[in-house]
């Protein structure tokens, strides 16, 4: 498989220049961290273990064995509503492309993790807050459709503020579209792991994020449907600190596992291993003699 330029660069780990831009402050504990050290430590603060939000390229680089073949990268969003507020929507998109070096809010492709071939989707909060517009919906849909054809498991990292307002109802409909693709993939025997990262909310959490066979969450990630501010305004009281965290959801029984980032890859590989038998030609029912349709 070909290796994209960004992946090759990250693997080469060039020695960075010694200037102030190389230092960053941990938003949690305030420690000044040398960025190459942070990168080498999977973007986790070595003092307080705060998990920094990761760029999709860094995430992919951290996970995949060596190769990554992107799909749908050439897709760009239209401006179906002709949206303008402070600036026109296409300008916001151009600004985010420039700033994030991404073409949209999710990077999808084929790779292998610990020797297991997978379809991998990684959302990035840096691009319009990871919101799901038509391109994110289309890329995720294609990822599941092609994973179904190739009969490989699907791994999706979510990070999203929800549906993208500037694409209106076309954005909301991506919840339905991705759901249909996930359902078809799983009904056909496909194995799907989602990893909820900080933050996963709104229309993404209420569709493919919570439809996986196994749902993981990175430690201390904010996860929920309604935004924290909306709830505070509705009930007019301050919410406890751990509300809508990965740990909170684990306690409530909504997710399978909370994982610290340094342990993530090994856990993913083990989970992929358990699912090896899942990629059967059919979902197993069809090969059984004269199946009697029951509805559990």
């Amino acid at each position: 498989m070909p290796m994209p330029e960004w992946l090759r660069l990250r693997r080469a780990q060039p020695v960075p220049a010694e200037d102030s831009a190389q230092w960053t402050k941990c938003p949690k504990c305030g420690t000044m961290i040398y960025r190459p050290d942070l990168a080498a430590n999977a973007w986790v603060c070595s003092t307080c273990h705060h998990h920094f939000r990761m760029h999709a390229f860094d995430r992919i680089s951290m996970l995949v064995d060596s190769d990554f073949t992107e799909i749908g990268g050439e897709m760009l969003p239209g401006d179906p509503l002709g949206w303008t507020d402070k600036v026109p929507y296409p300008q916001k998109l151009a600004r985010d492309r420039e700033k994030s070096k991404l073409t949209e809010g999710v990077v999808c492709g084929f790779a292998s993790i610990g020797g297991y071939p997978v379809a991998l989707g990684v959302m990035d909060f840096n691009f319009r807050g990871g919101t799901m517009g038509t391109v994110v919906g289309e890329r995720i849909t294609q990822l599941f459709e092609r994973a179904r054809e190739r009969k490989v498991p699907c791994v999706v990292f979510t990070a999203s503020g929800g549906a993208r307002m500037e694409e209106g109802m076309l954005a909301l409909m991506q919840m339905a579209k991705t759901t249909l693709a996930v359902r078809r993939f799983q009904d056909d025997g496909g194995y799907y792991l989602s990893v909820l990262t900080d933050p996963t909310t709104g229309g993404v959490s209420a569709s493919f994020a919570f439809q996986a066979d196994v749902i993981l969450a990175e430690a201390r990630a904010a996860i929920g449907f309604a935004g924290r501010r909306v709830i505070e305004q509705t009930i007019r009281q301050k919410l406890p600190d751990n509300f809508q965290t990965a740990e909170f959801l684990l306690e409530k029984g909504a997710i399978d596992v909370v994982v610290e980032r340094p342990d993530l890859k090994n856990l993913l590989v083990r989970l992929l291993d358990y699912g090896v038998g899942a990629q059967r030609p059919t979902n197993g029912r069809a090969s059984a003699p004269a199946p009697t349709e029951t509805h559990p």
Partner: protein, 319 residues
């Protein structure tokens, strides 16, 4: 304050005057018909001015009109209804009413969101904002409908899913995601009708359907105008501006291919002729079912897949 209710006030006064004059005229020998006709003409003119061309924000207010027919009114318009309660796990969510029903003689599973009419009912129904249990009730009823081969008809009217501590604790996201997941594979026809407000994922959770119908002055949006304004500009007070930009009217959504059919309302809105409107909606649902019922389950699933698969706005080469 509802801007439609405000605008209606003058009209309602005029309506009263006409009625009074008519009653008066019937008791008097003097001919007042010319005067009545003039008033009626004026009435019609004002009505057309107010309702002939409404802004998106006015449509939002029409969709929220306090007298607008609610989910339970449509349920009451069915030939027969036997309510089924609860999610089998936690409680019965009153924001969603569902059960077996007969629609023009046809057995169906009817599911409606209901906002409640008076204050007491609104509280009982949580203002039409479903909790996870509501969506889990939907999942259960759709599964039951699928099991028995009954078509599913849904009536949508919510500002959105409940944003509360309890709803988050019981995994609102998972409940909506699984409701969508259930509708995605049901082997029976699903017809959804947006009758008032279609607010965000909380509405879509009942609208992943084979046919999506919408009343003329209903609205359906990615977030409520207040929610969108808060998300975009941190200011819920800019809801009117958000409503204008979001393209949430029935004409917009028909153009986008998100809505299949728009059901017209009487001049002045659905509440001006509630039973007539409900009748037209049920006729339209029945008509949609006529076309869907003969379609085999796999073909139905396939068409549903393709219906939503094509919704997008993507440039550049795909694949």
């Amino acid at each position: 304050m509802n801007v439609i209710v405000e605008r209606e006030k003058g009209l309602l006064e005029l309506e009263q005057r006409i009625d009074q004059l008519k009653a008066h005229a019937s008791q008097q020998p003097v001919d007042m018909s010319a005067e009545i006709r003039a008033l009626e003409a004026k009435y019609g003119q004002i009505q057309r001015e107010i309702f002939g061309k409404m802004t998106p924000w006015q449509r939002v207010n029409m969709a929220r009109h306090p007298k607008r027919p609610l989910g339970s009114d449509y349920i009451a318009g069915l030939d027969q209804f036997d309510e089924l309660h609860g999610d089998r796990h936690f409680r019965d969510d009153h924001a969603i009413v569902g059960g077996f029903a007969k629609l023009k003689g046809r057995r169906v599973m009817a599911i409606a969101q209901d906002k409640g009419r008076d204050t007491k009912e609104k509280v009982f129904r949580n203002f039409g904002m479903p909790s996870p249990e509501g969506y889990r009730k939907v999942i259960r009823l759709v599964r039951l409908a699928d099991h028995l081969g009954l078509p599913v008809v849904t009536f949508i009217d919510t500002s959105g899913a409940d944003p509360g501590i309890g709803s988050e604790e019981r995994a609102q996201s998972e409940a909506i995601a699984q409701s969508l997941y259930e509708l995605a594979d049901a082997g029976v026809p699903i017809v959804a009708t947006v009758i008032g407000e279609g607010g965000s994922g909380g509405a879509l959770a009942l609208a992943l359907a084979d046919r999506v119908l919408m009343l003329e002055h209903a609205v359906y949006s990615v977030a409520s105008p207040e929610g969108a304004a808060a998300i975009l500009w941190g200011d819920a007070a800019r809801a009117e501006e958000a409503a204008t930009r979001l393209k949430l009217t029935s004409d917009d959504l028909l153009q986008f291919g998100i809505v299949d059919d728009v059901i017209t309302e009487p001049l002045g809105g659905a509440h001006r002729d509630a039973s007539g409107t409900i009748g037209r909606v049920l006729d339209a649902v029945d008509g949609a079912l006529d076309a869907l019922v003969p379609v085999p389950a796999d073909e139905l699933r396939d068409r549903r897949y393709r219906k939503f698969r094509r919704i997008g706005s993507v440039t550049g080469a795909t694949g």
